[in-house]
Symmetry: C2
Subunit: 267 residues, 2 copies
Amino acid sequence: MAGSELTNIKAPRVKAAKRLAKRAFRDRDRAFLAEGPQAVREALALPEVTVELFTTAEAAARHPEIVSAARAAGVPVHPASGEVMAELAQTVTPQGLLAVCRFVHVPLAEAVTADARLVAVLAHVRDPGNAGTVLRTADAAGADAVVFTDASVDPYNGKCVRASAGSLFHLPVVTGVPVAGTVAHLRESGLRVLAADGAGKHTLDDVDLAGPTAWIFGNEAWGLPEEVLALADEVVRVPIYGRAESLNLATAAAVCLYASARSRRAE
Amino acid sequence: MAGSELTNIKAPRVKAAKRLAKRAFRDRDRAFLAEGPQAVREALALPEVTVELFTTAEAAARHPEIVSAARAAGVPVHPASGEVMAELAQTVTPQGLLAVCRFVHVPLAEAVTADARLVAVLAHVRDPGNAGTVLRTADAAGADAVVFTDASVDPYNGKCVRASAGSLFHLPVVTGVPVAGTVAHLRESGLRVLAADGAGKHTLDDVDLAGPTAWIFGNEAWGLPEEVLALADEVVRVPIYGRAESLNLATAAAVCLYASARSRRAE
């Protein structure tokens, strides 16, 4: 390991990393925190993403391959006490590994090209856990990209990173773009733009999902605003066969994205 | 309203209700707490379920129809101060309405009969938020019943009740039954028993979902144990088309339940 164990929670290195829990500091440093062995492993699999790694002695012993991968990539590894890890980690039971990572998002034009077949757009998604879950689901469904518009939560929020379970590092992610410009670009790229909303005239059972499709998902509580619905080619609702009033956002997104993925495979 | 406003958080009535946040007291009193206008409305729609209603003056003014429905049903309505509501509620921003409800679960033989076409079984689901979300999704997908086996979380846990968004009151729920007996009963009732697990040999794309189906969902972290997989007719995984390692439990359940619901409609 590089250097002796960090035991002081006020050490400049610890304070600099801890600040990244706040969006203003993330935006300033263009860096964020990835916690736990899975996220750290995925970060290290990408070139030039991991800035530094903090690890407890216990975690280093449990995951020697992660520490080796960091060293091989020239990433500084800082041994840290349990107290320092608890200070840095945002989880109740920290897993002893935490990386400072450079932003991974890419411009919209790079993420979505004429080859794209399935894209998820998060417009007005405010809960970071939901956003991360949709990102993970989009990855699982084989989406080509996930777009966080400027009215959505920060994809680098700690809860979002954790809920994405590594998917933030798997597929192109775009952030901070206006929804109107996003829709225009999606359409120019040959994608049909579907807004998922409980107010949809069509249900998932009666839209043709075979072609390239972009799905827009809205707010947990109130769905999508009129101006976004108006931008879409179709507004589509997930059919409710029972007595539930609605589905939760991440659930509805899963049903839509997998319906598209399955239609695409059946082509 | 019945009586003057409760302002003392140590009043016997308040203490008796607050205790229901704990499972041991719920089991003893065979009662639980339902918070917020949606859950209270659904509880009042069922006969003999609501024992008593606590409401702040503000919430009573905002939802007069709920207070009227309670009175019409002979349910005692207790005006409560904001402080008392905060003491009783398990949410950070209480919505000012909270009902004490009688247990609503039914025996397995009553919930699942030969008419059943879609049933969800929660085996080893430990996170109450996930369990409630699966219950809500099963309701939306038109399931006939949801079974919580004895190794799963308590359906009356406050987080589960809230995540179910009223669905706990919509369809027959069974709790505390052993998984083996449940599977035997499902099979006798004519249902094909599918275990959802990442280790499945078959994917959702190559199983026939047209007939009556029961889905068994496992633990968030480790899926289903061998002995449960062995009980199922098939072990089925949701296909991962991208690079995600897995789906989260509630997402996987949504994809499976909606795949069944859609196949059934397409018959």
